[in-house]
Symmetry: D2
Subunit: 343 residues, 4 copies
Amino acid sequence: MNVSIIGTTGYGGAELLRILKQHPEFKIKSIHSTKEDVPIWNEYPHLYGILDKSLKGIDADQIADQSDIVFLATPSGISGELAESFSGKNIKVIDLSGDLRIPAENYLEWYKHAPANEALVEKAVYGLPEWHHNEIASAEILSNPGCYPTAALLSLAPVVKENLINPDCIVVDAKSGVSGAGRALSRTTSYAEANENLRVYKVNQHQHTPEIEQQLMKWNSALKPITFTTHLLPITRGIMTTSYVQLTKEYTTSQILELYNSVYEKQPFIRIRPENSFPSVKEVAGSNFCDIGVHADSRTGRLTIVSVIDNLMKGAAGQAVQNANIMSGFDETAGLGFVPLYP
Amino acid sequence: MNVSIIGTTGYGGAELLRILKQHPEFKIKSIHSTKEDVPIWNEYPHLYGILDKSLKGIDADQIADQSDIVFLATPSGISGELAESFSGKNIKVIDLSGDLRIPAENYLEWYKHAPANEALVEKAVYGLPEWHHNEIASAEILSNPGCYPTAALLSLAPVVKENLINPDCIVVDAKSGVSGAGRALSRTTSYAEANENLRVYKVNQHQHTPEIEQQLMKWNSALKPITFTTHLLPITRGIMTTSYVQLTKEYTTSQILELYNSVYEKQPFIRIRPENSFPSVKEVAGSNFCDIGVHADSRTGRLTIVSVIDNLMKGAAGQAVQNANIMSGFDETAGLGFVPLYP
Amino acid sequence: MNVSIIGTTGYGGAELLRILKQHPEFKIKSIHSTKEDVPIWNEYPHLYGILDKSLKGIDADQIADQSDIVFLATPSGISGELAESFSGKNIKVIDLSGDLRIPAENYLEWYKHAPANEALVEKAVYGLPEWHHNEIASAEILSNPGCYPTAALLSLAPVVKENLINPDCIVVDAKSGVSGAGRALSRTTSYAEANENLRVYKVNQHQHTPEIEQQLMKWNSALKPITFTTHLLPITRGIMTTSYVQLTKEYTTSQILELYNSVYEKQPFIRIRPENSFPSVKEVAGSNFCDIGVHADSRTGRLTIVSVIDNLMKGAAGQAVQNANIMSGFDETAGLGFVPLYP
Amino acid sequence: MNVSIIGTTGYGGAELLRILKQHPEFKIKSIHSTKEDVPIWNEYPHLYGILDKSLKGIDADQIADQSDIVFLATPSGISGELAESFSGKNIKVIDLSGDLRIPAENYLEWYKHAPANEALVEKAVYGLPEWHHNEIASAEILSNPGCYPTAALLSLAPVVKENLINPDCIVVDAKSGVSGAGRALSRTTSYAEANENLRVYKVNQHQHTPEIEQQLMKWNSALKPITFTTHLLPITRGIMTTSYVQLTKEYTTSQILELYNSVYEKQPFIRIRPENSFPSVKEVAGSNFCDIGVHADSRTGRLTIVSVIDNLMKGAAGQAVQNANIMSGFDETAGLGFVPLYP
């Protein structure tokens, strides 16, 4: 099957190239960007001699003619329009941006710019594969979840769905590596200012907040607004969410783990850690895993849930390919068997 | 005034040397360790040509004879015994370890080894200078607060004391640089395993938990056990605590800031950030500042409080010297005017 | 084909697991260490759920019975003895240590401990695949080159063999990430002391010096001792060698590049960069590539040669598998198609 | 004495503020930049509450009226013009840029833009304090040496001046932290691309080359062009130069050290390490020291010289203040007694 990528010069796009280059079923047909006719290795010298393609301009008709799937690795605000340009063109669209994830009114409030076409947003399937396998399988337009929401939702799902927690007191303290901010230059992601530093940003204002809440409320309509905080870590890849919830009654860690294990038993990319073991972000680097550890504290009646992903993999390109596999009828894990790069 | 340091080969000890070498009032009389007769620059080449002293063995009588103050930069379990050996010897003792901070029964539960002499613990003044100035001024034995407790307590004090928050739902999500773990070698603090990583540790089991709770309860007896989580950051210096509390009624961020500003108005080392500004850990590196930023979220009624310190300075050696200044009748800021090293 | 690994708890061993787990031809039969009966994920949590094997003790007969190839990822001093224990046991041995690389008299001088059995050293094939393909193909005992020698030799070979340089003035300034020092704990590789640092070590005394010189002299007997300096970089993976040689007559950069391109034309893991492009270490991270860039300086008549590898891949486990492929008659690149992990 | 700073928003300017804020003799009168009326803490939050000044526009007359010394922490190309605008205005000028360091013809070739006024360049004193104390003492316009040249020249001076080495074979392999590239944003200094990386840049083309050669040739007119290579380290502060020279006859390391010790005996900021000890960059962080270690290799007859500085201190702002001290008749070390920040 032929695939194309738009927005190839960003980190999400580059990671798609890394995965797709080694994928057994997909073939990279063309790569696109606003920079035309530049060999991709000029932008990414690590691809020198590996991928002999040049960036092309964006012509929706031509892309739709030649490819079965197009990945939009473009920023929010641009993806929505691009997705629309592929409407009715017999090509599946997988959008990695936030444009198709939440309704227009929420979008405007949190993203601070105009939302995408409403019908399109409605049509798009929000694709968290562990929970939406069937919808994904038949999707034409897929909205790939955000990096933070992926880590937060996968780790909160069991206790939220099973109603084990107080619905009005969820705190998600999230930490992300710098690549999550994309390849555009900024002061806070410059080396001298990010290194040996930890910075909190968008306190109570991160645009992934409504995305997380929307899905949580689908699982449990009693859910109230959550507290969601984001920190910039001095690492390149990786997200950790440390979530705090109030248990409705006394549970032991091992009871909670039993639930998590049973919920995720068949999921190839979820690894529930045994009692007293917690994942660290490096233990999933370069892979599509989401690792989860929990601890129920009898002193406070609160449960601490730790979840880690590689933000460019399970948090972006890896999950996009996982979705593409499902949409194409392939094994969900095809081309995603990366063992974490450690150390 | 003459001062001596025991436990000079650890990072807290080395930081005491950096401060005291430049201090206008204190003179480093002798430095001590279990390694005898080793020039300090052998252990710390950055001191080559700056401090021409060798490590000596520990003789309490001799130290008490020659010095007015002794700093114990030794590990928990050892400090307590050393402190006792100086009892009645006409020398002020400042202990940087956890040995004199909490009562015996708590100590045993959280530190997992035998507590120090009870009378000594009782006699020791817990010295958070912004809150205990008078007790510190007359202390003979001073227990220097832990790094995490310093950041957490300074940032929680105003809302806890003023009763602005729900006393049974405090979550402190804390992150520390690697130097906080000391100079002893371990796998988790080795470069290849700490770099490009974020690791959660001692989940709901960190020994600083009772220290924080004890002080909070002195300020507000209604306080219930808190949730306290610690993460290991891939940085050398710096702590951030991100704390979550439930406000008892609606407050704006600016109202909360007004409170913080008025509480800390006269404190030279506390910097309350203006609205929409949050401190990052690098902005206090090498200095004795504790910077605090807050945001009240009207969606959830919760307050987010961010606090940063340099764990070796305000979290250890800097605060110890601040206490020594107060105990000696000097200006609290003497020898502590370090401008943060940025970038 | 079945393979076993001894010394699995080190970083070289762990990297072998990462590669072999995904290899199309080799099957990991057993993993060995002095730590017996420990699940490998206890040592390396990133392998949780991926590799369900436990470490076993070392029984040469049993290993030889069950496996076609054994990888020795053990330290120098131990590998030699292990290699000997497999003598005559109908199993191919690939040793990643320095034990079989240089003659006894050199070994003692540079390694400062007793060398391995001389006959074994003589029998072992030094396996730099780009230069020793045929010897490797028929080897029974293979000595895998050191990390620094791999980067240095591959980048110096063309000008040394073709006699383009002054044979008595070669300077190799080498820089390595911390994983090159192995997983044993040490002060210089602890996070707080390696981070934000650059350290020079073993100045003119690194044990890889005779290994480099020996091979260079095989290519050009006029070669004189070289100057070789090693630095510890604050990164986990990656080596760069910056080499300086005096050209015997005036050459342009493009003439030199022509030579390098023709010499390495058919080598799948060597990437010669075009004029004015130089490789950086991150551009080969996680892959088996060795990237080389050169610049001939007309002001000085000197040539600067820059070479980068991932020390755990082309500098250790990757090259070992490349050698195993050749020894087994597989395509040299089997299981080694890793695209560099960037960023 | 009153001092002003132009170009305060760059890292060199910020470091000047850190030093001058704590200086016993100089008072920061005004700070200037193209950004007018912005409080400095907006640009540098670490100065919040420490320095209550706002950036002002640049009015040479006013600055000259109010200040005794002006520091130009502006980029090359701008400094030269600014320096000229202060001509004849009864104010001492210290320029941290490259504009006044080398003659016009060299400047154009290496800097690739128009040089500063020739008379000005000629009048400016090149101020390496360890070697030009007297000229500095009477200078009106001072050209502060570059970061790389400072490390290279201080470490090469003894053997070059004393004619101990072959004058046509000097190789300086230099490595710098990211802050050396300034605060302007660029891809190569963004966190995700600089972290876990080592990059070589401007191979044989760095603009500091002629500055180094010019001074070396003043010391020894037989000197031939040198080879000078620069690498970008994943650290914020620090430079190491590893230099390779050919000794004209056999010298032991201890003989060379004797020379270095005698040459630099009275220099407060030069620390010559004892035999077998080499400095690492972190051992001078935040301080004005230049630490030097050497090793003479009897195998090759070559001498390896390692030199480290903090590029923002001895490589920029620290040395500028050292020069200002000398120009003002103060003790050279006034306000520069920073103990290195370690770890």
